[in-house]
């Protein structure tokens, strides 16, 4: 049998990419009081401990609320922004477009520190509105991108026929355009949720002690002590992320997903 070196090396590198995540997931089932691999024994005690830990449960709630509000706000803003950029021609349109997308390119830490200075000045540090605003800055470009793509794919003749049949502009938008770009909005919404739910670099500067998000709790716990509870929390987040990823796959399909990831990263 011929050995395909290229294929084997590609698989090994894939293993390297997955390795850290697999380790975290497997260490959360260990029955030892310390993080070890390969895990010794099998137990769910760390998950039970997580569910009894009011601090972790509280931060889970904070993250859910924050991610939900951020996704709603970002979706509305992203939708409006996309309509303005795709449908209207005005001066400074390109500039506006690149300004909207700039937060994705700027280093997260620079953005975080900048927001810290800004929000300290206007008194939004450590508040939920401050966190929502901060997360919206990094989340809303995703909706803008996904909605812009589906909006430019909409056949304008459909809207024109609706209007010629007497529908108002608003009604046309609601009953014709909106259903056509639904998957773009949904995908953007899910991307936002995931971005906000997983974010730590922005929260780190804006949250303060009263609003610990779930990733922040991991951030601080990892510095204090080292027990499998953190692995268990991470596993829970990984499962939530996986569910959202599958949701994205259902609404967009994998190859579209790949295209989206590329569009956003560049």
């Amino acid at each position: 049998m011929k050995v395909d070196l290229g294929r084997i090396s590609a698989y090994l590198i894939c293993l390297y990419i997955l390795f850290p995540i697999l380790i975290v997931a497997s260490t959360s089932f260990t029955s030892t009081p310390y993080v070890t691999f390969p895990p010794k024994g099998f137990s769910l005690e760390w998950f039970v401990k997580v569910l009894r830990d009011t601090k972790i449960l509280n931060s889970m709630l904070v993250s859910f609320v924050l991610a939900s509000i951020t996704s709603v706000v970002s979706s509305i803003l992203g939708l409006l922004g996309a309509i303005a950029i795709v449908r209207y021609r005005f001066r400074g349109r390109d500039l506006l477009n690149s300004l909207f997308l700039a937060p994705v390119l700027a280093p997260m830490i620079v953005l975080g520190v900048g927001l810290l200075f800004f929000f300290t000045d206007i008194g939004l540090i450590g508040t939920l509105p401050g966190l929502v605003l901060g997360h919206t800055v990094i989340a809303f470009p995703y909706v803008l991108r996904t909605v812009s793509v589906s909006l430019s794919g909409v056949d304008r003749t459909l809207e024109k026929s609706a209007m010629s049949l007497g529908a108002s502009e608003f009604r046309t938008f609601l009953q014709i355009t909106l259903p056509l770009i639904r998957s773009g909005i949904l995908a953007g919404f899910l991307f936002c949720f995931m971005t906000s739910f997983n974010n730590v670099s922005i929260s780190l500067f804006l949250a303060g002690p009263k609003l610990p998000t779930l990733p922040l709790t991991i951030f601080y716990n990892t510095q204090l002590y080292f027990d499998p509870t953190t692995s268990a929390v991470s596993t829970i987040i990984l499962i939530i992320t996986l569910v959202i990823m599958l949701g994205l796959e259902r609404t967009l399909g994998l190859y579209r997903l790949l295209e989206k990831a590329k569009a956003i990263s560049q």
């Binding site: 290229g6 294929r7 090396s9 590609a10 698989y11 590198i13 894939c14 390297y16 990419i17 997955l18 390795f19 850290p20 995540i21 380790i23 975290v24 260490t27 993080v35 691999f37 300004l99 390119l105 700027a106 280093p107 997260m108 830490i109 620079v110 953005l111 520190v113 900048g114 810290l116 200075f117 800004f118 000045d121 995931m194 739910f197 997983n198 974010n199 730590v200 670099s201 780190l204 500067f205 990733p215 991991i218 951030f219 990892t222 080292f226 953190t230 692995s231 991470s234 987040i237 992320t241 959202i244 990823m245 994998l254 190859y255 997903l257 790949l258 990831a261 590329k262 990263s265 560049q266």
Partner: protein, 265 residues
């Protein structure tokens, strides 16, 4: 935009231990970061780590991108999902994972020791080697996607023509495929470089203060030492370092792509 303006403003203020910042214009913060030997060392280390990560990403990324391009059906889907995973997993989880892997008693050392490959545990945690290993895993995806998209852009008939003209598989790869993916390589390298330069979370845990890099330095200035002017100047410098390669890169990649398209026709 406003946060960046705030940052620009603080960066030219003078630091004061009591007031944090005194508004009189000065460039001393910039001078300090760029010319003080300690700070310049941090900056240099950040560059070195990003450069090594970029090279390693290129070496490891190419075979995966190529496999992803050649594979079909289930194999293609699986590779794609695996490649995209680090993009969707919270950075703090990746950082935590790497801490458990790299510690002296961590997974990598205990695995290598139980296989009798090494006697003494390797020093990976708090070293540049460890940071590069972790950063490459986290940022490889950008290299793979860039190379993959330039592979997809190659016209399939070019491979066939090369083979009809008698080129072996290796020759086809080195004479046709590789040169045509140079735009993807360039784009991926610049992307990985600028993302690694500004990556915070892995640097914070794996490099920590022992192998301090620039983003961690900025965090310390802003959150612990409360030297906002110095932190701001550093932030502006980091922003420049991160954005310049991307800007040059997209212009360059575009021109290269144009040239190849003309050559193809």
């Amino acid at each position: 935009m406003v946060p960046l303006l705030y940052m620009a403003q603080y960066s030219v203020y003078r630091y004061d231990p009591l007031m944090i910042a005194i508004p009189d214009l000065t460039l001393e913060n910039y001078a300090k970061v760029l010319f003080d030997p300690y700070y310049a060392g941090v900056l240099l280390r950040t560059f070195r780590i990003a450069l090594l990560t970029t090279i390693l990403s290129l070496v490891l990324g190419y075979p995966v991108a190529y496999r992803m391009f050649v594979a079909k059906g289930f194999e293609k889907m699986t590779i794609t999902i695996v490649v995209l995973t680090p993009l969707y997993v919270s950075m703090v989880i990746l950082a935590y994972a790497w801490v458990t892997l790299l510690l002296p008693m961590g997974t990598i050392n205990s695995l290598l020791q139980s296989l009798h490959i090494i006697g003494e545990p390797l020093k990976l945690m708090y070293t540049e080697t460890g940071v590069v290993i972790a950063m490459t895993q986290a940022n490889l995806v950008f290299m793979i996607l860039s190379i993959h998209s330039s592979l997809e852009n190659i016209h399939p008939s070019l491979h066939r023509s090369a083979q009809i003209l008698g080129a072996s598989r290796l020759q086809t790869f080195s004479k046709v495929t590789l040169p045509l993916t140079i735009p993807g390589i360039a784009e991926g390298s610049l992307l990985v470089f600028s993302i690694t330069v500004s990556a915070f979370m892995i640097a914070f845990f794996v490099a920590a203060r022992q192998a301090m890099v620039f983003p961690v330095f900025i965090y310390d200035q802003a959150m612990d030492l409360l030297n906002w002017p110095l932190g701001s100047a550093s932030g502006i410098i980091l922003l420049t370092i991160a954005l310049v390669p991307i800007t040059i890169g997209s212009a360059l990649a575009h021109r290269l792509a144009m040239r190849f398209r003309i050559a193809e026709e």
